[in-house]
Amino acid sequence: MKQKTYFQWWLPIVFFLLMLLDSQLSYVVRILVGGQVILNFHLLLMAIIAASFHCKRSYLLVVTTFIGFLYDNYYYGVLGIQMLALPLIVLLVYWIFSKVEPSFLSLIVSLVIFVTIMEFTVFIVQIVFKLIHATMLNFIVDVLGPSLLLNVIVFILLYYPLKKIIFSSFQSKNVVRYSRS
C-alpha cells in the first residue's frame, strides 16, 4: 500500500515528460524522412498500458484527462481533442485487459488497435469541428500506416523493460481482476 502512494506521485510527471518526448521525437524523425510521411511516436500510450496493470482505473482516468488538457492547450490551443482521446483509451485498455491475458503477441495486437483508435479519435474530432480539412485516404496513407509500423517496432525494442513493469505485479493482480469480472 505504501508503494502505491509513492507510485502515484511520480506517474503524472513521467506521463508529462513522455508527452513532450513523443512530439520531439516525432518532429526529429519527420525532418529526417523529409516531411513526406508523418511518424508519430506513442510512448505515452505504452506507458499508459504498463501503468494500467498497477493503478486504479479512476486514478488513471483523472491523470490522463489532466495530461490531455496540457496537450491540447500546448499544441492546439483548442481543448477537448486529446482530452477525449486519452481517457477513452484508458477505458479501452482496462476493458481489453480484463478479457485478454497480456502476452507478447496480445500486447502488440492491442497496441495496433489503441494507436489506430487514438489517431482516429484525434482526426475525427478535428474533422467534425471543421478545424482541419483532410481526406481519410491521406490520413491512412501518410499518418496511420507509418505510425503503426513505427510503434510496433518501438514496442518490440522496448519489450524487455515494459515486460518487467507489466508482469511485476501481474501475478498477484491477475487473481483480483479475473475474479471481479
Partner: protein, 287 residues
Amino acid sequence: MKKFNPNKNIIIALIVVIAVVLLVSVTATQRNQKKDENVVQSVTNDFVAIVDKGLSFPVKGVQNVISSIQNLFNTYEENDQLKRRIDELESLRSENRSYKEENEQLKEQLDLDSTLSNYERITASVIDRSPDSWQNIFIIDKGKADGIEVDMPVMGRKSLVGRIISVNDHSSKVELLTTSNQNVNHFPVMITPKEGNVAYGLLEEYNPKENAFVVKQLTSTDGLQVGDEVATSGLGGKSPRGLFVGTVKSIEANQFGLEKEMLVTPAASTYELTTVTVIKKLAGRDS
C-alpha cells in the same frame, strides 16, 4: 439495480459528449477571434514550454549530428556552387549599398518616416511542433514580453512560412501557411512580372498534392509568366510589403472558368525549421 446500469452509462456518455462539444467549440472560437488566452491557459503553456525547451536540447543535439553527417556527403558540390555565387554577391552588395543610400536620401526628401516595407525583426527559435499533420502548428520561445502579437507574419530562412495565432508571455504558437485549418487569415500578395504591371491577389490555401500555394482573386493576369516572383503586398494592414513567398508555378482558370487561379511554389520547404523571424510591421498598423 441491474436495469439502472446501462442507463447510467448512457447518461455519463451524453454528459461527456456535451462537455467535449462545448469545450472544443468555445476554445476554437476563442482562438479564431484572436482573443488573449486566459490566465490558466497562458501560465500552463509557458510552464510546458519551459520544460519542453529543456527537453529539446538533447533531442536537437542528436538531430544536428545526423544532419551534419548528411551534409558532409554533398559538401564538395555545394562548395563549388557557392564559390561561383560569391563572385556575384560582391557586385550585388555594392549595388545594394548604393541603392540603400539613395533610398534613404529620397525618403528624407519626402519626409517619410516609415513606409509599408519597413519592419522590425524578432528572431525566435522553434521549441516543438505539434505532432499532427494538418494543423501544422509550431511553438516558438518568444512571446508577449518580446513584443510579439497575434497575426504577425513569420519568416523561415528564405521566405514567408506562417503567422502567429496565439501569444503567451514567453511562448507563442505559429501556424504554417501549409495548414489545412479552414479558418485562417489570407495574406495579400503581389506578383511582379519581368515586364508590365504588378498584379495583386490573395494567398488563400495550400494544395498538398501540387505542393503549392493557391493565389486567388487576381487583379490581372496579363504578362504574368511561370517563374515570376511572388511577395506580400503590404495591403490590408497585417503584413509589410515585400516578404518573399515563392515563384509562379502555373496559371489556370478555376473550375467555374470565371476567375484565374495561380499556383505558387514555396521558396523553401517548411518542415525543417529551427529558427524563425517574426516580422513586426511599423507603418499602417491598426492598434
